[in-house]
């Protein structure tokens, strides 16, 4: 890490204030300067990014956060975008993907990894407190075998582990719940709060189902943080409300926080508030874009989710247009969850279309022949 040069987009201003305590006006004043700095930084350090900017961006600095140029998330799948010299030591993060599907590849160096960790800490400690709690990872230990090329799931778990102690990996390699291990852990830490982390689908399928079967596990002193989307669970008709209610009923677990995040902006998690909505941390922002004009959508209007974050330095990922749909619910309304800033919800993935051609897929102008 180069300690001589001043840090680009320092995180201190965002981390010294409590998370979700910055109003939009204050937050955007800070963010705008740093995001503009990052656009320039990546332009200088990444030939590919500079080329994209030259063709797509106006060249002028953004005057609003909404004007910061963005990259489509798919570009991280097709091209390896890096702002670090090849000679430097980096880790390659990959997103999860079904077989045959291209995955995102993210280059992370020591400095960016550190920023990601600090950013994540700000969010996690907001719900877990500053002290490390005994932690249950609802995953398998074998996930972390290869440190040089890590999947997003592995990086997510590893990132979370530093906020806990006396870690228990709750699942065996075959995904079966280690019931003995769980009972021992809960007995050992009977008097303290505990933290739990896992991917939403895994929590439901490999943890909740087993707890329901056992019937006598008490997690009323637990706080669960989970992520991964509701798509898989939609097939089983399990939504956020069902998820929370079921866990509460079966083991008393009531502090449950979902978050939205992605490998392209690891460290930046949009954490659920008590009102069930998602909130960006101080150093990140969300913009919902109208899918026809690509301009910022009005509050309540569903559009494509655009995420910004001041964390990424080793790769040009500070402004990314996702393939998810979402809607802003309100801005600076602390009544719901005691949080300032933007509150939004994720609607789901934009449906993946494969152009098939054929005459009628787009039946244009039904009332007239060509």
């Amino acid at each position: 890490m180069n300690t001589a040069a001043p840090t680009v987009a320092p995180l201190a201003p965002y981390l010294s204030a409590p998370q979700f305590s910055l109003s939009e006006a204050v937050k955007h004043a800070l963010l705008l300067a740093d995001l503009n700095t990052l656009t320039e930084y990546h332009r200088e350090h990444s030939v590919a990014y500079a080329r994209v900017l030259a063709r797509f961006a106006s060249g002028r600095s953004a005057t609003r956060v909404e004007e910061v140029p963005w990259l489509p998330v798919a570009l991280f799948k097709s091209h390896l975008l890096s702002s670090v010299a090849d000679s430097q030591r980096t880790t390659l993060l990959t997103s999860s993907g079904t077989t045959g599907q291209q995955v995102s590849r993210i280059t992370v160096d020591g400095e960016t990894a550190d920023r990601q960790a600090r950013g994540l800490a700000g969010s996690i400690q907001h719900v877990l407190g500053a002290k490390r709690l005994p932690m249950i990872l609802i995953d398998t230990k074998s996930l972390l075998k290869d440190r040089l090329q890590m999947s997003a799931r592995g990086a997510g778990v590893l990132g979370m582990m530093r906020f806990g102690r006396d870690h228990l990996f709750a699942l065996n390699d075959d995904m079966r719940l280690d019931v003995t291990g769980l009972r021992e852990f809960l007995a050992k830490h009977a008097a303290t709060p505990v933290a739990l982390f896992g991917f939403t689908y895994m929590v439901w399928k490999y943890f909740y189902q087993e707890l329901a079967r056992l019937g006598d596990i008490d997690l009323s002193r637990g706080t669960l943080i989970h992520s991964g989307g509701w798509k898989k669970l939609a097939d089983e008709a399990v939504d956020n409300a069902t998820f929370k209610r079921s866990l509460g009923n079966v083991c008393g677990l009531r502090r449950i926080y979902n978050f939205y995040g992605m490998v392209e902006q690891i460290g930046s998690i949009f954490l659920e508030g008590d009102d069930g909505l998602l909130y960006p941390p101080n150093f990140s922002e969300v913009v919902i874009r109208n899918p026809r004009t690509w301009e910022p959508a009005a509050v309540g209007e569903v559009g494509v989710v655009h995420v910004l974050s001041t964390l990424p330095l080793s790769y040009p990922g500070h402004s990314v247009l996702t393939e998810d749909l979402g809607a802003l619910e309100h801005i600076d309304r602390p009544q719901g969850a005691g949080r300032l800033g933007r509150a939004f919800r994720i609607v789901g993935r934009a449906p993946k279309t494969e152009l098939r051609g054929c005459s009628d897929v787009h039946a244009f102008g039904n009332s007239r022949a060509a």
Partner: protein, 408 residues
């Protein structure tokens, strides 16, 4: 026993070998026999008047192509082309494998083959489109009233079943494979009978060449008309047809082209709106991702996204990218000084070049200069997708018949 789903002449699950048997034994017609021409002409009448068919431009184009006057011209041309020492006769049983990206092709292929007297078996893919649904309804009614034609036709629907395809391949006298390189390679793995022939349509690429000055000189009405024609060429079939233009080659000086390009694509954007062609979010995101990849992989000098439906990627220095193309209104554009300069960029897989603003002489000169390196047809903007029996270098009427030499 192998069964297969037959859609036409009537719906039913049938034994494959019994089906082939009955097709082989069906009465053979002579090329351009009256019942065949009448049947094809009747299809035209139905398509042009049917309420549902009228909502689909590609079906209207098909109806127009197979109208009686066009068929009569086709027959007249056929008769005039007959040699004195040969009699043209049907090949027998023709097996058609249509492409997945243009759902009306199977009808053109089948009709041409039917007109020259062949019996036909056609494989339709599992996924039915609205156009195919409408065609099957209309044709079902027509077959019920024309048993002689029905006896010699079988339209089947099955998934990727090599077993069935192999049986049909072994039984036919001619196999026609549409659908591009991958399909052709796969089907070629299934043998034909030794006496049988094959026509294969590989991956093709198509372009448009526009004279900048001519475009700029157009009156507003004429410009809108040109844009509408270009729309028909490029947006039908989501720009995925082999004849759909993927690149606009501007001919003219740099200054002339800048002006012409802006004028033209704005007019095209208006035509797109007028025709209410819209892409969904997934496609729009796909195009955005594509444009970014293109900027990194190709000499893209400028990107213009006029709307989700119209993306223009300028290439400088001039080149013609043929791999990894996107559709639904994604156009490359480049500039050359003279039309003849296009010749050096032409490749074997180039099929259709639509043109506007050039004299017949300069167009012919281009074909001469290209000298066979590629390009099978040069037609005016608006006719890219017009089917013609001269296709991809084949005279399909000739391909679907064989000649008996009568030397006495």
């Amino acid at each position: 026993m192998t069964t297969v789903l037959r859609i036409l002449p009537s719906v039913g699950v049938t034994d494959l070998h019994a089906l082939l048997d009955s097709l082989v034994r069906a009465p053979a017609h002579r090329p351009f026999a009256e019942p065949l021409v009448q049947f094809a002409a009747e299809l035209s009448v139905r398509l042009l008047s049917d309420r549902e068919a009228r909502t689909i431009p590609a079906l209207q184009a098909l109806g127009f192509w197979t109208r009686l006057s066009a068929l009569q011209r086709l027959r007249a041309g056929w008769d005039a082309g007959q040699g004195r020492d040969a009699v043209a006769v049907p090949r027998g049983l023709v097996f058609h494998i249509p492409p997945g990206n243009v759902d009306t092709i199977f009808v053109y292929s089948w009709l041409l083959s039917l007109l020259v007297g062949n019996r036909n078996v056609i494989r339709l893919p599992s996924q039915e489109t609205r156009a195919i649904g409408i065609l099957c309804r209309i044709m079902g009614e027509m077959f019920a009233a024309a048993p002689a034609v029905a006896a010699g036709t079988a339209i089947l629907r099955y998934g990727h079943d090599d077993h069935i395809t192999a049986a049909l391949s072994a039984a036919c006298d001619l196999r026609v494979i549409w659908g591009g390189d991958r399909t052709v390679r796969h089907i070629r793995g299934l043998p034909l009978a030794p006496h049988a022939s094959e026509i294969a349509f590989a991956d093709r690429f198509s372009l448009s060449a526009l004279d900048a000055s001519a475009v700029t000189a157009l009156t507003p009405n004429a410009l809108e008309e040109l844009a509408r024609r270009f729309f028909n060429d490029s947006y039908w079939f989501d720009q995925l047809g082999c004849s759909s233009p993927r690149i606009v080659v501007w001919i003219g000086s740099a200054a002339a082209v800048v002006q012409a390009s802006e004028t033209f694509f704005k007019a095209l954007a208006r035509a797109v709106k007028e025709k209410a062609y819209e892409v969904d979010v997934g496609t729009a995101l796909g195009k955005i991702a594509y444009s970014h990849r293109a900027v990194l992989d190709l000499p893209v000098s400028a990107v213009r996204q006029l709307s989700n439906e119209l993306l223009v990627l300028q290439l400088d220095p001039p080149c013609v990218p043929r791999a990894d193309l996107y559709g639904a209104g994604t156009f490359f554009e480049t500039r050359l000084e003279q039309l003849a300069d296009l010749a050096q960029f032409v490749r074997r897989q180039d099929q259709t070049l639509t043109v506007f603003g050039f004299t017949t002489a300069s167009t012919r000169e281009l074909a001469v200069t290209i000298n066979g390196a590629g390009i099978d047809r040069i037609v005016p903007v608006g006719e890219a997708l017009s089917f013609h029996h001269l296709w991809d270098g084949n005279d399909l009427l000739r391909s679907f018949t064989r000649l008996v030499h009568v030397g006495v």
